[in-house]
Symmetry: C2
Subunit: 267 residues, 2 copies
């Protein structure tokens, strides 16, 4: 699904502690959800079974990982508990939540809050729409490629020109649907547009049946730190460009959140 993190030793800052590096690699490896035996883990991170065993034992004893009945390791409960802590103390999320709830209740469609992380979007909050069970694949803590989602495009649009070039160099523009933008030049134009308009549209570029409007959130320094979106099935959202009420409402909510973060509209 999302581009997997390369095996190991990729982020060697000068001061990294080796054991920690290794232990973290175990966790990241297990983050794909596949339970592994000791051997499989030790293969995955290229360490001797004895070392791997000791690392897993330590992680295990704090419930960072757990052993299932078949002796295979997977992530443990502590991961969930740390996430709750992160989640609750996340200012952006806390500030945005009331606005997002109001927005969701008003438009009845699914509302997202997300940030840019590398070449991907990470969802910080998802409020499912009030219609039937959502067929949207997004999950809190989950990722999606930036170039083909409303949230992603609006976040990319506000990067520096050089960062955008950088992004294009790193990220191949694979087509998810008919509508996915796969030409770098086209994407750059689109981003330009988005920056000027102040919002992004997604006409099924990632999931064919999903349409979405996204708007950026600014912090007190005027930097874009996150984005929100309203998404729903094509049936209810089209014609998207003409749906000015929805677009306006998304932008307004984003502005309200920005102001709560200390953003001054006319700087």
């Amino acid at each position: 699904m999302s581009p997997r993190r390369a095996s190991s030793e990729e982020k060697n800052n000068r001061y990294n502690v080796r054991v920690l590096d290794r232990a973290i690699n175990i966790l990241l490896t297990l983050a794909d959800g596949k339970p592994r035996t000791l051997q499989e883990v030790s293969d995955a991170i290229s360490l001797s079974p004895s070392t791997t065993f000791r690392l897993l034992a330590t992680l295990s004893c704090y419930k960072f990982v757990q052993k299932d009945a078949l002796g295979r390791y997977s992530l443990g409960l502590t991961c969930l508990e740390l996430a709750r802590a992160y989640y609750e103390s996340n200012d952006l999320r806390k500030v945005a939540l009331p606005e997002l709830e109001a927005l969701r209740d008003e438009v009845k469609e699914t509302v997202h809050l997300a940030i840019l992380e590398g070449t991907e979007v990470v969802y910080l909050e998802k409020l499912p729409g009030l219609h039937a069970i959502g067929l949207m694949g997004s999950r809190v803590g989950g990722r999606a490629p930036a170039y083909c989602t409303g949230l992603g495009k609006v976040l990319l649009a506000h990067l520096k020109a050089e960062e955008i070039e950088d992004f294009l160099r790193k990220q191949p523009l694979a087509p998810f649907t008919e509508k996915t933008i796969t030409n770098p030049e086209t994407l750059k134009c689109e981003l330009e547009q988005i920056r000027k308009m102040g919002y992004a549209l997604d006409r099924g570029e990632h999931e064919a049946e999903v349409r979405c409007v996204a708007a950026p959130i600014f912090d007190m320094h005027g930097a874009v730190v996150a984005a929100i979106s309203i998404s729903g099935p094509a049936g209810r959202m089209e014609p998207l460009d003409a749906n000015l009420g929805l677009i306006e409402r998304a932008c307004q909510a984003a502005r309200a959140i920005s102001e709560k973060l200390g953003f001054r509209p006319r700087a």
Copy 2:
């Protein structure tokens, strides 16, 4: 709120890797949500600033922790991502979810899924009721004391007698409300009752205005591995004992989940 984990070095299994131990203690320390400066962290875990610095640098580089504008550390995005992985690959939760949704839609009240962890209950899933905004303090990944919640009591009830004694030795029965059971003997009787009846009631023992019905989930070996509950405001739930429909529905959902886990009703 929840009893804090003691400072450090408490879980010294023979084979623990020291650095890892220390790094994990940093994470657990930061899990209270309070951002800390380098010094505060190094005090909290009783290590020299240089060592702490290096550990934090490593954690930081994998986004396990992050530094805010004031140079204070708090938990980072990776915690959220690991949790998502844990969450999605959690079989119990996956199996239970459809049942829980059906249950929630039917009774319109808040539905929980939880497990016992030490002397506390950890919520794995929370489906908010369909009435107004919930005043319930529970959160996925969060904890609550076992002895004064429906979920907790039903989970305790199915421990071995010796484990219950153990629990009572460790856990002081502090009163949260008028109704909290603070006498160990009374609690033991209550647990006995619960085991016989097959479900637990909470008449505001933790949060004064909340009532709750909880039922146990069994795995294929007949061991109790989790519990579910229906909770709501006293106004709508009382008279609780007489609310046989609700009780029956909770037990039925729990049984359905148990069977999906391979539990054979009449063994």
